[in-house]
C-alpha cells in the first residue's frame, strides 16, 4: 500500500503544483502586462484582483462545453490530453533542491526535452481536428515553429552538458558550485561560452513556448485564438493551463542550466540548503517575469523571419558554439596537463 502511495503522491504533488502555477501565472501575466501598458489589470475580485483567476476557473468549469458539428470528434477530444499529459510529465525531473525532485533520473535533461517535444503533436491534433481554417493554420504554424526551434534549443544546451559532463540536472547544478576568481559564482550564464548558449536558449525557448515575439500561432488579430479557437469550457482550460505550465518548465530549465538552480552565491551552504526550493521557485518566477516583460515590449515577427532566424542563424551559431566549446575544453585540459 505504501509503495502505491509513494508512486502516486509525487504525481499528485506535480498536478497540484501545475494547477497552482497556472492560477498564479495567469494572474501575474495580467498584472504585469497591465502595468507595462500603464493599466492596472484585474482589480475587482479580491484584494487587487488576487482571486480573479480562481473565479475564472469556476467560470470555465460551469461554462457550456460546445462541440461544433464540423469537428473530427475523436481527435478533438484527445487533443487536450495530448497537450496536457506531456506538460505534466515535464515536472518529473525538475530539481527543486538537491533532494527535492520527483524522480532522480540520470538523463533528466534529455527526458525533459523529450516530453516537451511531444507538445506540438497535441497542438497539431487540436488545430487539425477543429474543422476550422484559423485553427488549422494556427496549429500548422505552431508545429512548424516548435520543431524549427527545438533543434537550436537542444543544441544550445550541449555546451553546458560538455562543461558539466552530465545529463543529470542535479549534477549540472552541482557543477555550478564555487567561484571564479574567488567571488564570481560559477554559474554558466557568467561563463563566456555559457552566456552565448543562454542567449540562444532564451530565444529558442520563447519560440518553443509560442510566446511573443514568436506568437504567430495564436496571433489574436489574424487567427482568433489559433489552434484553440473551437475549444470551450474545461478543454480550453486544459490547453491554456499547459501553455502556462510550459513556460514554468522552460524557465525552470533555464534556471537549472544557467543560473545555478537552487543555490545562491555568498551565503553559507547550510543556510541555502534549508531554503533551496524557495530560491529555485523565486528564480524561476523571475525568469517568467522576464518572458512577460518581453511579451509586453516586442512586436510580433513575420513567419519567414522566424524561420530564417531559426534555421539560418541559430542552428549554425549553436553548431559553431559546440565546436568552440570542444576545442576550448581540450586546450584547457592540455595546458593543465603540461603545467
Amino acid at each position: 500500500m505504501s509503495d502505491v502511495l509513494s508512486v502516486i503522491l509525487p504525481v499528485l504533488a506535480a498536478v497540484g503544483l501545475m494547477l497552482a502555477n497556472g492560477v498564479v501565472l495567469i494572474y501575474m501575466l495580467r498584472k504585469v502586462l497591465g502595468h507595462l501598458h500603464l493599466r492596472v489589470g484585474p482589480m475587482h475580485v479580491g484584494w487587487h484582483g488576487i482571486l480573479q483567476t480562481v473565479a475564472d476557473v469556476g467560470k470555465l468549469l460551469t461554462k457550456e462545453d460546445i462541440t461544433p458539428t464540423n469537428v473530427d470528434k475523436a481527435l478533438f477530444f484527445l487533443a487536450p490530453a495530448a497537450v496536457f499529459v506531456p506538460s505534466l510529465m515535464a515536472y518529473a525531473a525538475i530539481p527543486f533542491s538537491e533532494t527535492w525532485s520527483i524522480t532522480s533520473l540520470d538523463t533528466g535533461l534529455l527526458y525533459t526535452f523529450a516530453v516537451l517535444s511531444l507538445v506540438p503533436l497535441g497542438i497539431l491534433m487540436a488545430g487539425w481536428s477543429s474543422g476550422n481554417k484559423w485553427a488549422l493554420l494556427g496549429g500548422m504554424r505552431a508545429a512548424a515553429q516548435q520543431i524549427a526551434y527545438e533543434v537550436p534549443l537542444l543544441l544550445s544546451v550541449l555546451p553546458i552538458v560538455m562543461l558539466s559532463g552530465s545529463l543529470d540536472l542535479v549534477e549540472i547544478v552541482a557543477a555550478q558550485g564555487g567561484y571564479w576568481l574567488g567571488f564570481v559564482p560559477r554559474w554558466f550564464v557568467l561563463h563566456p561560452l555559457g552566456f552565448v548558449a543562454s542567449v540562444i536558449f532564451l530565444i529558442a525557448g520563447l519560440a518553443e513556448l509560442n510566446q511573443t515575439p514568436f506568437d504567430m500561432s495564436e496571433a489574436e488579430s489574424e487567427l482568433v485564438a489559433g489552434f484553440a479557437s473551437e475549444y470551450s469550457a474545461m478543454k480550453f482550460g486544459l490547453l491554456f493551463l499547459s501553455e502556462f505550465s510550459n513556460s514554468f518548465i522552460i524557465s525552470a530549465l533555464g534556471v537549472t542550466l544557467f543560473f545555478g538552480g537552487w543555490t545562491l552565491p555568498w551565503i553559507p551552504a547550510d543556510v541555502v540548503a534549508k531554503i533551496g526550493p524557495v530560491i529555485f521557485m523565486l528564480k524561476t518566477y523571475i525568469g517568467i517575469a522576464v518572458f512577460m516583460w518581453i511579451r509586453g515590449t516586442y512586436p510580433r515577427v513575420r513567419i519567414d523571419q522566424l524561420m530564417s532566424l531559426g534555421w539560418k542563424r541559430l542552428i549554425p551559431i549553436s553548431l559553431g558554439l559546440i565546436m568552440v566549446t570542444g576545442i576550448a575544453i581540450k586546450v584547457v585540459e592540455t595546458v593543465r596537463g603540461v603545467s
Binding site: 464540423n70 510529465m89 533520473l105 533543434v151 552538458v161 542552428i315
Partner: protein, 118 residues
C-alpha cells in the same frame, strides 16, 4: 531507479485520468443547450467558404523533413557530449567530423533553397 520509471508511468496514467475527470466535471456542472448556431464553425462570424481542411504550404513538409534529420543527429550528439570529459583528442576529432557532416547538410539545404520561406 526502477521506482523513477514507475512514477513516470503513473504520470501518464494520472494525467489522462485528470483530463478526463476535469472534462467530465465541467460537463456535469455546466448547462447544455446545443443549437445549430452554436455548432457552426467560428470564423469571425462570416460563413465558412469551402472545406476547413485547406491545402497548406508544401514548405511545412520540407521543414518537417529537415527537422527529422537534425533532431536525430542532435540526439546522437548528447551521449557524445556526456562522454566528452574523457582525456585525449580523439573524441574532439570525431566530433569535428560529425558536425562538419551536419553543417555540410545544412549548407546544401540552404543552397538548394529549402530554407527559403516562399
Amino acid at each position: 531507479m526502477q521506482m523513477d520509471y514507475l512514477i513516470i508511468g503513473a504520470f501518464v496514467l494520472i494525467g489522462l485520468v485528470f483530463t478526463a475527470a476535469t472534462v467530465m466535471a465541467s460537463n456535469v456542472l455546466s448547462p447544455s443547450a446545443p443549437s445549430e448556431a452554436k455548432g457552426e464553425t467560428y470564423e469571425c462570424g462570416s460563413t465558412p467558404v469551402g472545406p476547413p481542411w485547406v491545402q497548406f504550404r508544401v514548405g511545412y513538409y520540407v521543414y518537417a523533413l529537415l527537422f527529422l534529420v537534425f533532431d536525430i543527429e542532435t540526439v546522437f550528439l548528447y551521449p557524445w557530449a556526456v562522454a566528452f570529459g574523457k582525456p585525449g583528442l580523439f573524441i574532439l576529432v570525431e566530433m569535428v567530423i560529425f558536425i562538419a557532416i551536419l553543417a555540410a547538410g545544412l549548407a546544401y539545404a540552404w543552397k538548394e533553397g529549402a530554407l527559403q520561406w516562399r
